[in-house]
Symmetry: C2
Subunit: 227 residues, 2 copies
Amino acid sequence: MGKARVQGRHAGLTRGHVLEAAVRLADRDGVASLSMRKLAAELGVEAMTLYHHVRNKQGLEDAIVEHVLAESLRPPRAGASWQEVVAAHADELHRGLNRHPGAVILFATRPAVTPATLVVLESLLRVLRDAGFAPRTALHLIYAVASAVVGQHLAADGAAATPPDAVLIAADGLPVVAAALADGPVTVESRIEVTVTALIAGFETILARDENRPRGMDPPARGTGLE
Amino acid sequence: MGKARVQGRHAGLTRGHVLEAAVRLADRDGVASLSMRKLAAELGVEAMTLYHHVRNKQGLEDAIVEHVLAESLRPPRAGASWQEVVAAHADELHRGLNRHPGAVILFATRPAVTPATLVVLESLLRVLRDAGFAPRTALHLIYAVASAVVGQHLAADGAAATPPDAVLIAADGLPVVAAALADGPVTVESRIEVTVTALIAGFETILARDENRPRGMDPPARGTGLE
DNA sequence: CTTGCATCACTTACGACGTAAGACTATCAT
DNA sequence: ATGATAGTCTTACGTCGTAAGTGATGCAAG
């Protein structure tokens, strides 16, 4: 009786609000500490309410990935060389992850093959094909760049979690490691820049090699020792 | 009062047993579904008992990473070229992750700078330095390869989680994507092989470039567009 | 206007999780 | 015999995702 309950009054919550708050909380505290209850509290609502706007927690995480990618990736600039296009793509991805550090781990887990990202992929592949790459090789190139960027972010985040002193102490008696760490910390930016530069240069030589061997011939014959 | 309790009878549990069981469960069901309680049950023991052999769950995960790395990485073969050494290192890492698929995600999270891995790193860096690489560049090379291998495994696992049909359907109207996916699935092996090949080729050109510019000069001047 | 219904919100509840605190017991050095 | 130590179990707390059910709101059809 008494107890004027106001339950159920529509709060005007939309999927957009939920997602925005989710990204904000993930950025602030990391996605690991993001829970349906905390997110609901942030929105002034009960936990179960969120399930009207999101299938479940995994759906929420997928949506975060999609959101970050959508706001980060742009179609390749017309008239740019394939090297510039690939470098720009890596840069966009890197900036997106930098803008949402707490969400990086999601990119390692969720595949992120949504229509929107596939469209971007298509345009990237088209540039590469026009430059002479076989479609399969072009796909490998994009995969390599994306994995490298995400991987470097993950590794850098993990490294940031351990105090650098501990590493330096552990590196005692290991002169080359010490020398490599001597001049300043290794930043994500430098890691990504070097990696992407190397990948582009590497695929330049792969492209040159493949163009000199026009039609269906044998694989690279003992390239890396991987099988 | 009655109730012949048999609690506390030493079960002869060791850290090695705990770790071995943890790796086994992680391999079977994935590390995400590994809990202290399940692990304890697997060992015929109560959950809290594990805390006498492991600091906490994170410590357990770190130990899993360490264990996999220790059983996978080998010191570089004497007399091999730096390219062979790097390729072999990538291959060892890849095989290790292949052997323990459920634990891959841990390699994205935990930094894995233990004394043992640092020793391996030192020997790798020594080979690269002897080949003419600056220590910092050598470190970037190893980081790039490790991140690429882990990143490709993660991406491949994520991709395996989504049914390939869905991707093919989504790729409808995207001719280049479709063409790239046309001849068979993209395996982890091929992704890693191509990436590592490209990285090695790329660092070959970086090495050649740096050797022609011996002492401290400007950075590559608009290399990738990353800053 | 009334009636019905889909939508949004809330409540309660369940089983799982990591782990702090403490009690018990077996083993071994003194 | 006497402690000390280390391995084990019990209980408990707070958190998590979410299934199931209840109630209120606002809109559309009669």
